[in-house]
Point group: C2
Chain length 355, copies 2
Amino acid sequence: MLRVGINGYGTIGKRVADAIRAQPDMEVAGVAKVSPDYVAVGAAEADYPLYAVDEDRADGFHEAGLELAGTVDELVAESDIVVDATPSGIGAENRPLYEHHDTPALFQGGEDATIAEVSFNARANYDEATDADYVRVVSCNTTGLSRFVAPIHEDYGIEKVRTTLIRRGGDPNQIGRGPINDAVPDPVSIPSHHGPDVQTVFPELDIDTIGLKVPTTMMHVHAVNVTLEEEPDSVEEVRNRLREEDRLLLIPEYAGIDGAGTLKDLALDAGRPRGDIWENCIWEESITVEGRDLYCMQAVHQEADVVPENVDAIRSVTGLLDGPESRAVTNETLGIGLRRLETSEERAADRQTAD
Amino acid sequence: MLRVGINGYGTIGKRVADAIRAQPDMEVAGVAKVSPDYVAVGAAEADYPLYAVDEDRADGFHEAGLELAGTVDELVAESDIVVDATPSGIGAENRPLYEHHDTPALFQGGEDATIAEVSFNARANYDEATDADYVRVVSCNTTGLSRFVAPIHEDYGIEKVRTTLIRRGGDPNQIGRGPINDAVPDPVSIPSHHGPDVQTVFPELDIDTIGLKVPTTMMHVHAVNVTLEEEPDSVEEVRNRLREEDRLLLIPEYAGIDGAGTLKDLALDAGRPRGDIWENCIWEESITVEGRDLYCMQAVHQEADVVPENVDAIRSVTGLLDGPESRAVTNETLGIGLRRLETSEERAADRQTAD
């Protein structure tokens, strides 16, 4: 049983911890946290051994009635591998700690790509992380783009990707972020850093991205254009190709899913933990082919889509399973794929089978 | 086993259905729905018999691969009692249907109070609905105010309530509602209809309310003032009194819960279905006593707080249990109360007991 330490127990860390617990081949060694707040209480309720990042704040944990298992240094010593889910930039400060203990580590996409040997996406380059000591799981947006690009690249070839990222302003629990009433070019320079970030996964890909921020907290939405090398026979062919991908969900028209709010409502209805949507959600009607130009709109849940990628990255680094095996186990254990979004044909077929 | 039909399977209806399923003394006879959308698919996935409100749209259900058990008329005939959770105003149109079948029915707070013999809150007037044929479960805001007012009224007496309701603009899945960038006096007349609505539960209460709408979707927030008849000994006494109430949650300072977003995040962390918060959430620091004036701020989850009230109203109307018994069963089966929001003293005590 691989023992995984989680350094940073916030939006991503708490989700990665729960995902690891759901795996048959790994367990949570403990989680390290700065503040004794409601999220720390949640870690204690979930019976994750709790480690203090900052020894000076240990008293705060005790005052909140929270028991500490030790310091982050001890957690790293206890762990076979660490998932660093600290805020952007802190991962880089933590790397010497992992080096000191000779412990492999995953970093998140908020870190600079130079922090690690490999920038990782489970669908695109699983094998490249095998035996690496330090791996960066790319950001939510880059994960979403990489998953979409991979099958299109394989089947049609890509001349160029041009994508506009309408980014959420902050997460639901971040009251201090914005904008609160604007569509803000961010960054104002073009291409935004997202294109080059996708190139850390697909080095040969020609991609330009434009980024903006809007006052929403639920999901990022991408307006995607891909100029293909080879023209598809039909739009239906492209839709069917995308439907085969395990971490892409096509949203059928009949479902009445008109935005990120309904998507989240659907995920909550389906009993998803925290209403998480691990898959890219592509509006089926938006998938359009004009000659060699492919278009679509997809929503990406910034709190969740990197979670299965972290689980797979752990297996790649430690050599536990190969890529298809790992993705299959991760999908199965998390419950990736939503039967509720089957096409009406699939649903009717299910019904007939049941009859 | 009491058979409960749900007419209207939207935000409230789907939650009430799940809550009924969790009870030992009642079951869902079926749910009636207008549109064959993702929510209808959810009903099918949950194995609730699905009835079409509009026979002309039966084809749409079939095209979506959804099997129908019949029409809403048949559902009413099948049911011992109906929960009408249709949009505001539709309940009034439906009442003749329930009368025709001689089936008792609950309506929601969006209906005019005259639709029913009793306006109901489980904490305040459980017994008044016993043996009534038609009962209106008051709205989310009125429920939140009634729960707060009840214990204060009993212990200190109330000279006057003055409350400002900062209302959410729409639910997360309602893309067509607003405002999107304003704080809108709504209604602009004072008192807003909320005060008189609380008086349908507490006829003698002197209460004025002011209502506004803001561009949020998560929870309503109430800024409450109550002028008491009798001055409390201390603010701590009031806090402890409120802490005893099963459907009031006090938010301790250490938890770092700074808004509705963190409250929802907490509820999702705790594994609450759909992240629902059935209780009023009162910021403990905001509970303030100035002479005979009591102040606080509380958040009310518009999608969820009436759900346990509907369950209790079913038991009151049908005489299944008395008020304290019903509330206890509802609380236990839904999981009302959040251990994560215990005071640090309670948590420390728990820890000592465990040692």
